[in-house]
Every structure is written in C-alpha cells, then in structure tokens.
Symmetry: C2
Subunit: 409 residues, 2 copies
C-alpha cells in the first residue's frame, strides 16, 4: 500500500544507511504524497492544467483509490484542499470532483525590513495575495527594537484581520538584507541597516506564531518559482546593497550556512571608490541604488519612479545606467563563470530598470562568459515585481504546510 | 525484508511522485546497500575503523542476517569484497569475518591530457594505486589525434598488464583542461590545448572499454575525498590555466552543464594585461603557472622544482609568488563570497607552492570575505599531490562499480 520504507525502519529501530533520520508514520507520508500530487497539478499563472480528481491522485501516487479518498477527505475537512463542482465523466460512473488548493483558509506571512521600507504580505494556499501592508521610511543605521516592534505591530494587525475572516496563520518568514545563517536562522549582520547581534524574532513580539529569518534575496528568488523561469538561475536583487541567490533545480543553493551570492562585493575595479566593506571598487559602488541615483544627478532619497522619469527624459541618466549596466555585467560574468548557471533574473530595483540595463549586461556577459558560445546567457527581469521577498517568504511558510499536512489535519 | 519501495512500484507499474525513474530489482538494491555498508566502513588513510562483519552489515542496512550472508557471498565470489581472517568473538558463537574492499581484483583507470603531461593511473577497490604512467611534453596547441592516440596506447599497455595479473578493468575517466559538458561528456573547447570539437573517446581507440570525459579540476577535487577535508570545499587547480571545482556535501556541484569554477578568468584588475580569453587582467595573468615563471625570471618550460629552488634561494621569486598570492586571494574572495563555501583547497602546482602563497591568500580572504568574521576562511594544500585528476578519475570509475555491484556479480 505504501511506497515508503517506514514500517521496516520502525521494526528494526534503525533506518537503512543513507535514509533520512526523521521518522514519519505511514499516514503522514501518504498525506504528504496526496497533498503534493494535488498542489503540483494545480493550475497556475503559467499553466492551465486541469485539476486532478481522486482517481488522478491515486494514479500519480501509486496508492489505492480507497486510501486516497480517505486522505483527501481529511485534507478537505482541514481546509487545505477544496473540491470544485463535479465535471461529467467521459465514461460511465460518478462525475469526477476536481481537487484544488483551498483559498482563504490557511495563510503564510512574509515580513521584511529593508533600507527604505518595511512590509507584511499574506498569501493563501492558492498563491493569492490576501493582505499587503508596506510602509516607506529610511532604516539606514536604524534602531532594531523600534523598527522590529513597528513591523511586528503591522504583522499582528494583518493576522488579526485575517483570523477575523476565518483564516489560520501558519507562520511567518522575516526577510532581512544581511548575513543570515541558513541553518539556525540567526542574523549575523545587516550592514545597510547597521544591525548586528540582533534577535529579530524576539523583537517582533508575535507571541506563539512561528517566525523564521532568512536573507532577503534568497526569499525574493523563491517568488520567481511560480513563473516560467528555468529550473536553475541566479537571482540578483538590486537595492542600496546588491544581494543574490543561486537557485538550482528549483531549490536554493545553501552550502554551509547559505552565505552566498554577495555579488555586490565583487571587485569590478580595484582602483575604484572605497566601499563600506573596506575594499575598493565593489559592484555596489557602481550599480547600487544610491550609486546610480548619485551618478544620475538625483537625490539619494529619490523614489524609483523619479529615476525612471529621468531615464525617459534625460541622456545623462541613461549614461549613468549604462555605466551601472557594464559594471553589473562584469560582476555577473564572474558569477556565471564561477557557478555555471547561465540564466540571470534581475530583481529588486533592477526589475524596473531592466530596459536600460539589459543590453549592457548582455554585451558584457557575451564578452566575458567562457561558455557563452555554447550556452547563450539569458538575462531577464524578475516576474514578481515589488517586494518579492514578501511573496517568497509567505510561499515558504505555505510550502512547509503542504510538505507536512499531517500537522494541520 | 527490504527498506525500498521496489515491489510496490512494480506492482502498480508506476513509481510514486518524486521517486527516481530507473527501476531496480530488490536484489540489485540490496546488493548495493550491502556493498555500500562495507565500503563506507572500510578503514582508510584517515580512519582506523574496524572492518564490519556480516552481522554489522545486517545491523547497518536493516536486512536480515540470512539475506546479508547470501549477498556478501555473491560480492566475495565476484571479488568485489574480500574476507579477512576471522577474529574471535567476544561472546559465544562463530568468530566474525571482517569484510573489506577487495585488492587487485577490479581496477578503474584515470587518464589525463594536460598542457605539459599526459598520464594513466590505475586504482583498485581498496584505493591503492596499482599502476602509474606519466609522460611529460608540451601539448600547447597540439594535434588531438596524435596526443590521444599516444595516451590510448599508454592506457592499453597498462590495461593489458593488469589483465595479465588477473585484474578486471571496469572503465576509464579522461580528464581534460577545458569545458566538458557534465551531462553528455562532450568536450566543447580546451583553450590551452588548442582543442575544440574533438571526440576524445573515439581517438583514444580503447575498443570496448567504457570511457567518460570530465573536466580536470572536477576529477582532481574528487581525489581529496579520501582525506580529512570538510564535506564542502572549493578546489582550485593551478597550472598554465586555473580551473576549480565546487564540492558540496562530498559531491561535485554541477548545475546545468557543470561549467563552473572558472576562477582563472575572474577579473582581478581591468587595467591588467590582456588574457587569452579576450578580457583584461584575469587571474590567469597573475597566478597562472606561466605568469608566475615569467615574473620569477624563469623560462616558461622550467620544471616546478626549478621554481621551488628559486623560491628557496631568491627574494625576487618570492616577490613574484606574493603578487600571485594576492591576486589569487582576490579572485578566491569573490569565489567564497559568491558560493558561501569557506574552505579552499590549493591543488595542481599550488599544492607545492602553498608555503609561499598561503599567507597572502589568507590575508586577502580575511580582508574581503564578508562572512570571514563569522566563519574563518580555511586555506590548505591538497592532500593528493601529483596529477590528482588521475586519482579522482580512477576513483569515479570505482565509485560506480560499488554503486551498482549487480553488474559485476
């Protein structure tokens, strides 16, 4: 009945060599298989697949129809899965009931503090945004207690509102622009916020809600996975600092502690201006948001739409962007040559600036990527636009719900 | 009896969602589990573990003693596993027979063409080198047919000799300093050999012997795995060109086609000398073997021991190495910042030059790696010294034998 080795493992009291150490009961594993089959087959913005029926789920999992039917009933009762109106069967028998992720029942929260905004976003299991709250401000060298208390209050308001509407909040992910240990979720340092040795979760004050911390670019990259991006890509998140994530086969690459993708501190020119990190000529000094605004003759607190307006009007601003684009291309050429991942997704402020950056980035990648003659570099704007880390964080919470539905049934 | 889902999969004719598509019989899977248990527990140069008995293998795999005993008998008959003299049991019962990888029965061949040598190495299942043949020469802009025919003849000689001694040759890996597609084994280009669009396996003329092609640095990195290296590390192979491999959790990182680790073409200074790749100031121009010899005032074909002698005698040569070390540190800082892997293993000619390189490399990494305050960079000489790709290639062949022993039983 099961495809998993659980019973044998439990009988011998010891998993076979190479198996995962965590033990799951048969029912937990089968629930997960069924939930995954329904969620993987769900229609999305890029696919118009027909939702599966109980029979389809049985075929996809190798479980019997009776087992699938019982487990689906549990998932429906727990409001993780919803049933659509039956469609008439092509052959004799009862009409098939299409199964889809439930809407507005269980939500995940994405939270973020960045240099010029903080925000909260709630997504439901169908991927729909059910709440969004962003506050703009300047959090350069800010006080973590003040900022995180404010974000925590914003998140609590959102959660209270959703709960009043009958939704359950599964947990939250907090995105920060800094070094977050992917194993422990500890923040070591967030240079542009001026934070170090902070316990962000405690300061949020969200009580019993499970909150995990992650790097902003890593969570933003995950937001791309709902689109038609290739399975492996480099995600570059442009802001005051420039972060990045490496996605391989639709999963974050997190060797050791996940402290990777520091493309903002690739040295573009050792004779260049001094960077906050102590080195000279880091990419951030050419293509960071403040460096670009400065080069375009705009104030450092100019909104992105001000820069876009200048680019539409003004050759000087376009020159500044071309210089940033060539520097970005040079650092990305190193990134592609070192990781062998040939698709680059431009996120953060680069998403909106892509029309003015792309040609120079592509030209430098063609010149400098050794494998370019055999695998044309693919440079594209991110699909998820504003505050993608909020979306990616909320998605991560929901991914865990679907991966372990037994906790909700 | 088994921990694997084979029978259920075969009964339903369809693997469960997420399982590997290749089907294995129960016996194949169990043979593999047993072989892995014996090989994983084998005493190595860095561990003095006691070899396991049949009872130990049963405990480690969760299989019954009767099943294990039958499968071990097959592995012993096929000469993949050897039995040592029984040791007296601590409790009543028959004395336990220690099981170890067999010696001088099945061998893997490592082959390599590099800019200044070609070679063949044979390892047996115990990891011992049973044959070694290296020819020095200059293969810059060489004729692939001439060079590969010569290497093929060398390999055929070695194979014939080993077969006459009763050994079976399981296959070969050919290491080349160039872009090799990790999915197909095709060589796209080997710039320092001047090769492109070559079918190396056909030109070797080794008849029915299975030969696969891989990048030199990737295979050399695998040779480190028999030592006490951390599970994740960057392996940098210094020669005329500079290649690298990324090892994560003891496996090669090979996203997309495995075209990664091109650290030799990280731009250290865009105002620097023009590189063969077309860019300016690539690491290869500062820390490639020929660049170092030139800076040390030695002829380009000087042997490595000539450079070492100059370093022991001569401040000028030491200055040349310090310059190379700082450039290497700068490119490696980018590599560590981008991948988040904090251990760097210096291979190729850097292994012998490590005493003169290390301090400068470490100093630059401490300055430039953002996570250095939280994870001290670890720089070390490779354990496998000369021609590590030959060892790594032979190991890969043998790893596949142990991973699928049914083909040999």
């Amino acid at each position: 009945m099961t495809a998993e080795p659980t019973t044998t493992q439990r009988a011998t009291g010891r998993p076979p060599a190479g198996s995962a150490s965590r033990q799951h009961t048969l029912r937990e594993r089968n629930l997960r298989l069924v939930a995954r089959a329904i969620y993987d087959a769900a229609p999305s913005q890029t696919s118009a697949a027909t939702p599966p029926s109980r029979a389809d789920v049985a075929a996809a999992t190798g479980l019997t129809r009776a087992t699938v039917s019982t487990l689906v009933d549990h998932l429906v009762a727990a409001r993780l899965v919803a049933e659509l109106a039956p469609v008439s069967a092509q052959r004799a028998g009862r009409p098939a009931v299409p199964l889809v992720p439930a809407r507005r029942t269980v939500v995940g929260l994405g939270l973020e503090v960045n240099v010029d905004y903080l925000g909260v976003r709630a997504l439901d299991l169908s991927g729909e945004t059910v709440a969004d709250a962003v506050e703009h401000g300047s959090f350069h060298d800010s006080d973590p207690t003040t900022v995180l208390t404010r974000l925590g209050a914003l998140a609590a308001d959102v959660a209270t509102r959703l709960q009043a509407d009958g939704m359950r909040v599964a947990g939250a992910r907090l995105a920060l622009p800094g070094l977050v240990d992917a194993r422990t979720g500890e923040l070591e340092v967030a240079p542009n916020l001026g934070w170090s040795s902070v316990d962000p979760v405690g300061l949020l004050g969200l009580g019993g809600l499970p909150v995990h911390v992650a790097n902003e670019a890593k969570l933003a990259a995950l937001a791309e996975l709902s689109g038609d991006v290739p399975p492996s890509f480099l995600y570059v998140s442009g802001d005051v600092g420039i972060g990045a994530a490496i996605v391989v086969d639709r999963a974050l690459f997190l060797a050791e502690r996940g402290w990777n993708g520091e493309v903002g501190h690739v040295v573009v020119d050792p004779a260049g201006p001094r960077c906050s990190c102590g080195a000279h000529g880091c990419l951030e000094q050419y293509a960071g948001k403040e460096a670009v605004l400065l080069a375009a003759g705009l104030p450092l607190d100019a909104p992105l739409r001000g820069l876009v307006a200048a680019l539409e009007a003004d050759d000087g601003a376009r020159d500044a962007l071309r210089r940033a684009g060539r520097a970005l291309g040079s650092a990305l050429a190193d990134f592609v040559n070192l990781t062998g991942v040939s698709t680059v997704v431009l996120g953060g402020v680069y998403t909106e600036l892509e029309p003015w950056l792309r040609d120079d980035v592509v030209a430098v990648l063609r010149e400098r990527v050794l494998a370019a003659p055999f695998a044309e570099p693919d440079v594209r704007a991110a699909r998820a636009s504003q505050h993608a880390a909020l979306t990616g964080g909320a998605r991560e919470v929901l991914r865990e719900v679907v991966a372990d539905p037994a906790a909700w049934v």
